[in-house]
């Protein structure tokens, strides 16, 4: 599948992935992360149930300290 991840196109072998599978595959295993799929905020307890498929627009934002 081809998806948009953090505003860039990426191709994956699988046709579908859960949010948790995507984060693990991309090694986005940061402690503090905010995820949106097609504009909708995804709560942490929904990472295993939310399916990402062809054409989806995913944001996985790693929040870091500093201000």
């Amino acid at each position: 599948m081809k998806i948009t991840l953090n505003n860039r196109e990426e191709v994956f072998e699988k046709d579908e992935m859960t949010v948790i599978e995507l984060l693990e595959y991309k090694k986005f295993t940061f402690k503090i992360i905010t995820v949106k799929v097609n504009g909708t905020f995804i709560k942490k307890d929904m990472y295993e149930k939310t399916i990402i498929k062809e054409g989806d627009n995913v944001a996985a934002i790693h929040l870091i300290t500093g201000g």
């Binding site: 953090n6 505003n7 503090i32 992360i33 905010t34 949106k36 504009g39 905020f41 944001a59 934002i61 790693h62 929040l63 870091i64 300290t65 500093g66 201000g67």
Partner: protein, 193 residues
């Protein structure tokens, strides 16, 4: 009055945190003539803040929210300012920033950044939020950018985390906070009717 000034006059921007990002971003918005700022911070000014925050040596010990209001009014007394000396939470953010069209995320800690972004995305989805992310250290001008995710904008290099060896300092924090102000300006001119 120029067209952009007319438009700015009717806008209220929330500044969540009055540290390095918030104090500098608020001052930039005040200088261009924003209508109203709602600023919030619970902290007091300490000497180490002065390497990047828009405060003065003789303000050490004062509450940041009140001192920033004073500094902004010295620059532009026409800006309306509501200063809240309060610790922002997911419970009070929707009330404090209710009348804002745009909220500037200007916290220090990653946990707080996550809290306000998620609060705005879920509780206040009609508003824009402009966050600052990745501003530690120095140099790397060309890595500093803005990413948009619908109503969420993120300014910074997105990767440099603050540490004892890589503190937040005036040049880079100044760039990122002014990028936030510039993004707010752009949203006002292009996204808000």
């Amino acid at each position: 009055m120029l067209m952009y000034q007319e438009k700015l006059k009717n806008i209220t921007v929330g500044i969540a945190g009055c540290g390095g990002l918030g104090s500098n971003c608020a001052v930039a918005l005040a200088r261009i003539g924003i209508g109203k700022l709602i600023i919030a911070d619970f902290d007091i000014i300490v000497e180490s803040n002065l390497n990047r925050q828009y405060f003065f040596y003789d303000q050490i010990g004062l509450k940041k929210a009140h001192a920033l209001k004073e500094n902004i009014l010295r620059i532009n007394p026409k800006v309306l300012i509501e200063a809240h000396d309060v610790r922002l939470t997911s419970e009070n953010i929707p009330t404090i920033f209710k009348e804002c069209q745009i909220i500037v995320e200007a916290f220090d800690l990653a946990e707080m950044k996550q809290m306000i972004i998620e609060t705005v995305l879920t509780e206040m989805p009609d508003k824009y939020i402009v966050a600052g992310l990745g501003l530690a250290g120095w140099g790397h001008n060309n890595l500093i950018k803005t990413e948009q995710f619908d109503n969420l904008f993120i300014c910074g290099d997105l990767i440099s985390e603050v540490s004892p060896e890589m503190p937040p300092l005036a040049p880079k924090v100044g760039i990122v906070s002014n990028m936030q102000a510039n993004q707010v300006f752009d949203i006002i001119m292009n996204n808000i009717k």
